[in-house]
């Protein structure tokens, strides 16, 4: 049985932890609104860009002459995986979920005897992955000191991916990130960006416009595809930022509630043992008086 003093200290410390988690929840909630807004604002750009690329792809008849970024190298040997995570912890299963998904994929790729390269964005992902797959990591980014993610950061990652592609370092590129569905649900996702996944895009817009291209399709694609890579990375970063805050908010909310429960339990314990010691003292006094 812990002493009264110990219990008192314990209660105090749990209470101050609760204060911290509560504050973190509030901060996350405020940041979430902002992040969610920018994720939503960013969606049209990437969607429309996908649409244009889809339309362009339709009009290319000869896949041989199409740019490699679109159709791939035709091989399936070397993989580049880009794992996007947060730079900060204390956000529930956010980082682990991405890493778990990524690791299953790594296992599969390696199991098939293919070559694997990894780029990590965000320091938490690097920490989790380096233990098992450290030797495959060829580059890591961290935007810890940046308050808001802008397109420049995404462009930095995108350029790196493209330059690796041009050096023939990989055939396929997959990015891992959390898709922000709502505050409680974030879905870890693997998205293949090179070669562009055109089949999965909606084939619903059947109106096959005959587009006028100026200059030629190839030239437009060459200009557009590298931009698209950066755009996809940017979209993933924005979704990730919103997911991170959402995930942190739920995690901190749970922590606050748990701390509250713990305080209640400890208070009952404290009161009980206080009462016990009072009773004990009374009994001592009474039995002392009786023996006189």
């Amino acid at each position: 049985m812990p002493s009264l003093d110990d219990l008192k200290k314990r209660i105090k410390s749990v209470k101050s932890t609760q204060k911290i988690t509560k504050a973190m929840k509030m901060v996350a909630a405020a940041k979430l609104r902002k992040a969610q807004e920018s994720a939503e604002k960013g969606r049209p750009y990437s969607q429309k860009m996908q649409n244009i690329i889809l339309n362009l792809t339709k009009s290319i008849n000869d896949p041989q002459s199409a740019p490699k970024l679109l159709v791939g190298t035709g091989e399936d040997k070397k993989y580049l995986c880009v794992v996007l995570t947060a730079d900060r912890g204390l956000c529930g299963g956010f980082n682990s979920n991405i890493c778990k998904l990524a690791k299953t994929n790594f296992k599969k790729i390696l199991g098939e005897g293919k070559e694997l390269n990894i780029i990590t964005v965000g320091s938490k992902g690097y920490d989790q992955i380096k233990r098992e797959y450290g030797k495959y990591i060829i580059k890591r980014f961290s935007f810890k000191d940046k308050k808001n993610i802008s397109f420049n950061e995404a462009d930095e990652v995108g350029k790196e991916i493209i330059s690796l592609f041009n050096q023939n370092k990989f055939d396929k590129c997959i990015i891992f990130y959390n898709n922000f569905k709502n505050v409680i649900t974030q879905i870890p996702q693997a998205q293949q960006i090179i070669p562009a996944e055109t089949k999965n895009l909606k084939e619903s817009n059947d109106e096959n416009f005959l587009y006028e291209f100026e200059p030629e399709e190839d030239e437009i694609l060459e200009d557009l595809l590298p931009k698209n890579i950066s755009t996809q990375v940017f979209k993933a970063l924005l979704e990730n930022a919103a997911s991170e805050q959402g995930s942190r908010m739920t995690a901190m909310d749970n922590a606050t509630r748990n701390a509250g429960d713990l305080v209640d339990k400890l208070t009952i314990d404290y009161n009980r043992s206080r009462q016990a010691s009072i009773t004990k003292e009374l009994i001592e006094i009474i039995s002392g008086a009786e023996s006189l």
Binding site: S38, K41, G42, P44, Y45, S46, K48, M49, N51, I52, N55, L56, S150, F151, A154, F209, L210, Y211, E212, F213, E214, P215, E219, I220, D223, L224, K227, T231, F234
Partner: protein, 128 residues
């Protein structure tokens, strides 16, 4: 048949503009291009220049690059760098101008040189 169509300018972090208009002039890669409603479907990309939107009154945007799609009377401009000229102040323009001048001679390919020279020209035009 109305002679108006929708124009949208979208950058990665926001939708800069969405409105009805009569005519838009864009600096396409191969030259200035005027677009009226019921233009045939078109995809092209931009060089540095000025987008002019003619509705009631004129709006001008400075762009450095971008991709343009026109279909179903909807003009879509995707760009990283659209700036409303009315909100660009002199010092900012001059800064960009100096940068562009410094950049002009360091370009290696013909295409880059072509783009850089247009950038410089456009900026000079704005600064006057």
């Amino acid at each position: 048949m109305s002679d108006k169509f929708t124009v949208e300018i979208i950058s990665p972090d926001q939708t800069i503009l969405k409105q009805q208009t009569n005519e838009v002039i864009i600096p396409s890669f191969e030259g200035q291009m005027g677009i009226l409603s019921n233009h045939i479907p078109l995809i092209t990309f931009l060089r540095p220049g000025i987008i002019t939107i003619k509705a009631e009154g004129e709006k001008k945007y400075y762009v450095e690059e971008g991709t343009v799609e026109f279909s179903n009377n909807n003009l879509l401009i995707l760009t990283l760098t659209a700036r409303d000229i009315a909100h660009l102040d002199k010092s900012k323009i001059n800064k960009l101008l100096q940068k562009a001048e410094a950049n002009l001679n360091t370009q290696s390919t013909d295409k880059d040189r072509y783009l850089a020279s247009y950038k410089l020209e456009t900026l000079k035009e704005i600064s006057q």
